[in-house]
């Protein structure tokens, strides 16, 4: 029969009360945090307590009863898989949401559906038709009034171009600011996570699970996942003393489809170290031939003590491919011929037009750089361990010392009774200790051990001092009365010969030092003399570096913003496609629409400027000179026909003269029509047509002044000025402006202009961007081109919306699932509350019961007959 502890049950009851109380606290905490964002449901970890151990002599009748419940901790209910799913989807939602927001802003600028008169005639569409109508009026009656009407209409049209361009540019600048703000927001999150990691780590060390901080960290990670697709891993870190703490590492999620790119898994946070991202205004010009191996070789060369950085011969040994950047000249441009450097401050800079994001080094809160050392020890067979010489003297006797006796130690007199007591002087051990304390030696450490005075060489090595050993054997410099003090006869009684240390020179790495590796790590090798031989200590220290991300390294709202800011579609240069982003030609952000508008405006201006310039022909369609005579290309008889084109002979003659027809006509005083000139220019106060864009297209100053007008016809009847329109005296008939009246109101040129409105034209991105990857953006009329821009935008918006809806539904579902695991449910907590409350009551009741039972035992047992 087993024994029963009298008060065991009290402990059981007490533990039950504790556990139930704790359970109620946890339940209360859960209920209190039901609305706390990111809060994870907590549960009580409770185990059954068993005391004692198995005893081989235990009675078989001794039945073990547990000792109650023990609260081992409080934990969170969380499903890591759902976190991963949530964050992956969150970055998708972030990406599509940001993209859609951008597209909607573009739509609010470009989309003319439902705008304009007649419930949706549009603005640009209607204005183009308005211009066509004004041109038709000129065609029917080429008066000055109708020209003014057309100019007013064209002015309204170019104003629309300007307005659209301004709005698009404003949107672009708005997104630049937004991107900068988001970079700051991401950096705040990264800093928060790093700080939380540090705090959680400290809590871990002290055994506190820091659940609330983990919740906050999860919330911050969730927020980060909207900005960029991340990968979160947790590992255990040995901090020594057998203690391991959790380390949370966050990196980019390897999204770049190019397998050769490694920057897409750059680490953002690693435990207590965190990085910051940046959107630099400029980027250093990279050395295209950079070779990590050459870089490591250069560093190793420069680390050599014999390397003189001022010596050109030494500098010439450095491999140019081992430097990351191209040096800048005085203007900040790359040096030509190029020189290279690793100093980013010396590097040439280019504008960060592609809004490339960089990631800084991993630093802790104090700014200390992340370094990951890995140490390996290798025992070496070679080498000789150095031995320190050791000489031992024995105090054979020390007696009869009386007060005021003198003993000379190391040249100094010491008085017995004053420097050492008489009693101590008469003890060998005490005297030995006294002498040892007074002796000093440059080469030896002197100490006493019992009655022995031991000289141990400070350094290993043979006596003689050649290799660091003592210069000579020690001498016990004590002068005393021989009757009172006696040193052993054979002193030094023990002699250990010193031995020179001999390093393992046969080891290929000897004598060690620091070597830089191609992966940026450094290997430090040292050779250490151990007790049992020489050891090689190899420490590999990894560092982090500033990383310039590749164009497609990220996914999430930041990347969506970047694509909105950089997506030029068919206008992306071949160089960009080849070296920056292989998808650049299909990414259409704000620049695509800006450039499309520019191309449309330029095409419009070029076509109409071209139509309003040229040379006069007679009624037969032949070019004429200023006197109305038909022109002939020298040596080729026959007129130059505009209608039929050049004859092969005329073409050959022009080719021989290396002239095009227009140049030839200009040089040969071909007649030009009255009021001819450019209609559109790149600014309103001039006639310059160079580089017309949607932002700068204007009515030319000459048209505005009235010096230029829409030329209705390039035909001058009968080749004479003013042709047949002569008065009775054979003098030209003059108009109101004093100029000879034209002899025709023919309208073939204005008819060209009318048909130009609907003419199918090729829009070639290369006319705007020389090295554009696209060759054919679109073919169609001006209206069609604008419509195409809207269709591209509309389709993209449509598909993005569909994707966003799908991803958002998935996100909501995942979040609900996550809530299902980690969220607080009132019913659940109500049940817990009842459960713990009942358990608490029951434990209390148990205590009362035991108390009653013991009362019976103690106070009411064995009192029979009392």
């Amino acid at each position: 029969m087993g024994t029963v502890g009298t008060f065991d049950a009290f402990t059981t009851a007490r533990l039950g009360i504790y556990a139930a109380h704790k359970g109620l606290s946890v339940t209360g905490n859960n209920i209190a945090n039901i609305n706390t964002k990111g809060y994870t449901r907590q549960v009580l970890d409770q185990v059954s307590l068993k005391t004692g151990a198995n005893d081989m002599y235990r009675s078989q009748f001794d039945n073990h009863v547990g000792s109650g419940a023990l609260v081992t901790g409080i934990s969170q209910i969380r499903d890591p898989y759902l976190d991963i799913r949530f964050r992956n989807t969150s970055s998708d939602v972030g990406y599509y949401d940001e993209t859609l927001a951008g597209l909607q802003k573009l739509k609010s600028i470009l989309d003319e559906v439902g705008k304009g008169e007649n419930d949706g005639d549009g603005m640009l569409y209607a204005q183009l038709q308005d211009l066509a109508e004004a041109l038709r009026a000129i065609s029917a009656d080429p008066t000055k009034d109708n020209d003014t009407l057309a100019r007013t209409s064209a002015d309204a049209l170019v104003s629309l171009f300007n307005t659209y361009a301004t709005k698009l540019e404003d949107l672009r600048l708005e997104y630049v600011d937004s991107l900068k703000q988001d970079v700051t927001a991401v950096n705040d999150i990264l800093t928060n996570i790093r700080n939380l990691n540090e705090t959680i780590r400290e809590s871990d060390v002290h055994g506190d699970p820091a659940l609330e901080m983990r919740d906050e960290r999860n919330r911050q990670i969730d927020a980060l996942s909207e900005y960029m697709h991340i990968k979160v891993t947790y590992s255990m870190e040995d901090i020594g003393g057998g203690i391991e703490v959790e380390r949370c590492t966050i990196s980019l999620a390897n999204d770049n489809p190019d397998p050769t790119v490694t920057t897409d898994s750059s680490i953002l946070v690693d435990g207590i170290y965190g990085s910051q991202i940046a959107l630099p205004e400029t980027l250093p010009v990279m050395n295209e031939n950079y070779d990590p191996e050459a870089a490591a070789a250069n560093k190793n060369l420069m680390a050599d003590p014999n390397f003189d950085p001022t010596n050109p011969a030494d500098l010439a040994k450095l491999d140019p491919n081992g430097f990351r950047y191209v040096k800048a000249d005085a203007d900040g441009k790359p040096l030509d011929p190029p020189e290279y450097t690793d100093n980013i401050d010396e590097a040439a800079k280019v504008d960060n037009d592609n809004y490339i994001i960089t990631i800084g080094k991993l630093l802790d809160a104090g700014g200390e750089e992340w370094a990951k050392p890995a140490t390996t020890w290798t025992k070496l067979a070679d080498g000789i361990i150095g031995v320190k010489a050791k000489y031992t003297f024995t105090v054979a006797d020390s007696k009869d010392w009386a007060k005021d006796d003198v003993i000379n130690i190391g040249g100094t007199d010491y008085t017995v009774g004053k420097d050492i007591s008489v009693a101590d002087a008469n003890k060998k051990e005490k005297m030995a200790a006294f002498i040892a304390s007074k002796l000093t030696d440059n080469d030896y450490i002197v100490r006493a051990n019992g009655d022995k005075i031991i000289f141990t060489a400070k350094n290993s090595g043979a006596v003689g001092g050649a290799n660091g050993g003592p210069g000579a054997a020690p001498n016990l410099d004590v002068v005393a009365d021989a009757a009172k003090f006696e040193i052993g006869a054979n002193d030094p009684a023990e002699v250990r010969e010193g031995k020179d240390s001999q390093p393992p020179v046969n080891d290929p790495d000897y004598p060690g030092g620091t070597t830089w590796n191609p992966d940026g790590s450094e290997t430090k090798i040292t050779f250490v003399e151990g007790e049992n031989g020489w050891m090689k200590c190899t420490v590999v220290v990894e560092h982090t570096y500033d990383v310039t991300l590749d164009d497609n390294d990220m996914h999430g709202s930041l990347q969506a913003m970047r694509e909105l800011l950089t997506g030029a579609g068919e206008f992306a240069t071949k160089d960009t496609v080849a070296n920056v982003d292989e998808n650049a030609a299909t990414e259409r952000g704000i620049p695509y629409y800006q450039k499309s508008f520019d191309l449309l405006a330029r095409q419009f201006a070029e076509q109409y400027n071209k139509l309003n310039q040229g040379y006069m022909v007679n009624e037969k369609g032949n070019y004429i000179d200023k006197d109305g005579n038909e022109l002939e290309i020298g040596g080729v008889p026959g007129p130059i026909s505009k209608t039929n084109g050049l004859s092969p002979e005329q073409e050959a003659a022009l080719e021989a003269a290396d002239l095009d027809l227009n140049t030839w006509l200009e040089l040969n005083n071909a007649k030009k029509p009255e009021g001819m000139g450019v209609l559109f220019s790149n600014r309103g106060d001039g006639d310059d047509t160079e580089g017309i864009t949607a932002a700068n297209i204007s009515i030319s100053a000459s048209w505005d002044r009235g010096d230029v007008k829409i030329v209705p016809t390039f035909v001058e009847l009968f080749g004479k000025d003013p042709g047949p329109l002569l008065d009775e005296n054979g003098q030209p008939v003059l108009g109101e402006d004093g100029k000879p009246l034209p002899n025709t109101t023919q309208n073939e040129n204005v008819n060209h202009m009318i048909s130009m409105i609907n003419q199918s034209l090729l829009y070639d991105p290369r006319t705007l961007v020389e090295d554009a990857s696209g060759t054919k953006l679109f073919q169609g009329s001006f209206n069609d081109m604008f419509s195409n821009m809207n269709i591209v935008l509309g389709n993209k918006q449509h598909t993005t919306n569909v994707k966003l809806n799908a991803q958002y539904a998935s996100l909501v579902e995942t979040d609900s699932s996550r809530e299902g695991v980690s969220g607080v449910d009132l019913n659940d907590e109500a049940m817990n509350m009842m459960q713990y409350q009942k358990a608490y009551s029951a434990a209390c009741r148990l205590m009362t019961t035991i108390e009653e039972a013991l009362d019976r035992l103690i106070n009411n047992t064995g009192i029979a007959g009392r």
Partner: protein, 529 residues
Amino acid sequence: MIRATTGGVLKSYRSNLMNSFITLNKARDTVLSQRVFNSYAEDPAAAAKAFKLRKSRMSVESQHSICNDAYRKYQTAWSCLDSVDKLIDTDNGKALSTLKGTTLKMLNDPTGDAREQLAEALDQMSETIVQTLNQKYGDNFIFAGADGHNVPFEVRQVDGKNKLFYRGVDVDAAVPETMKMADPADPTKQIDIKLNAAGEIDPAGTSYLSADAQLVKVPKPAMNGGAEIRLNADGHVDPAGTTVLMEGYTTITKADYDALVQVDPTAPETKVLKDGADGTTPYMVKDKDGNDAYIIIEDNFKTMTDDEIQAVEDSALKNADGTLYTTTDADGNECYIVASDDNIISEAKYEKACSDAEKLEYLANEKYFVDIGLGFQENNKGNLIESSGFNASLIGLNFVGYGKDGDGDPKNIYSIVQKMKDIAGKIKEGEKWSDSDYNEFNGLVKKLEGASSEFKTAYTNMDASTTKLKNNLSLLEENFYNLQEQYADIEDADMVESITSFIWAQYCYNAALKVGNNILSESLMDYLN
């Protein structure tokens, strides 16, 4: 086991409530805007199509305006031409007040009592025709072809006569009919006869010879026995005479003569040329059959004095080497050319006439295209495809005629009338017509009728164009409404469906709100004691 937590349920509810609200909002937008889509993103293809249709409608509006203008112009033109038509010959029975009536009246007025007044009336009527054809529609002259800003017809005084000019070109300009000769280099070709500065026929010359220069037969003296047959003052053959008998005389054989004399000594055939030696003996020659014969003095008996022959040769055109130039007339006779100053056309004059004629030809065919909704497209050379535009040029020339006919008479109505007026003006008041004037006038009357007929044809053709414009206007109007209907079909919402959708969305949203109230209402907590 999946837990449905309070937070999870709320999140899910919020998301669904938001979806429900978005749906409601969309349905509301549809009802308020009455449009199926409000952005390209909602239906890119439909939006693009709707804009194309709207663009077409705007074009049609503009084309309708142009077409309407052209139609009005044609209507005005029609009125003008109608009044000209009436002025020419069909003024509702008042034939005498028309050109045709007046000319007939002049022809039937042999005494010439009212000729001056009638000529004046002709002048006035021709002036009226010109003024009518100078009418404007808006700011543009209707009948000016492709030059609406300048007066098309202008009457100028040239050499004291009224000449009509169309856009500065003489309406009677024609390439002058010139006399031709065989090309010395290629006798199968005919080239213009050119005169040099000395008035000699010279291929290197620069002046032209008009086709109406006079051809004079080369005088050919009759020969007998190798000598010219000369006549004395008595008309007898006398080698010393100064008159020469010309070829072409008629003979009678001696046998016939003798027989005839015996029968009727006074017969005409018995009047034969006598030998001057005695003045009585018939002068004997050989006829073509070699018989002895006498020369009959009758119609074919022609003589010329030496001076006369010299005068002919002097007036005839010579070659540059001084020899006389001969050609053949229609009957194959060898002729000299006798040219007056009027027959010699200077190079400048000739070229001007050619140039003017060319200009007239161009002006008569000038085109002026406007866009009235027929497509208005250019070919790949940048030239308008003519069938895609409407040629709105009304060319006055084509109505009243231009150039000259084969007789050298003007084809233009005004010029014909002016010529008539000039002929009538030559004759003094009260005098009778000379035959030649009468015939010429009469000929011009016929030509006026011809020109009048041409006018009517052109007038009728223009009427057809007016009808075409009118039909096109109707078509454009129809197109306008069709296009409106088409894009309305694409853009406009079906209100029954839209309102139903809206009410359904509102119902769903209200239901969602109600569900939300229940979600938050109770939990186990509420039942704890």
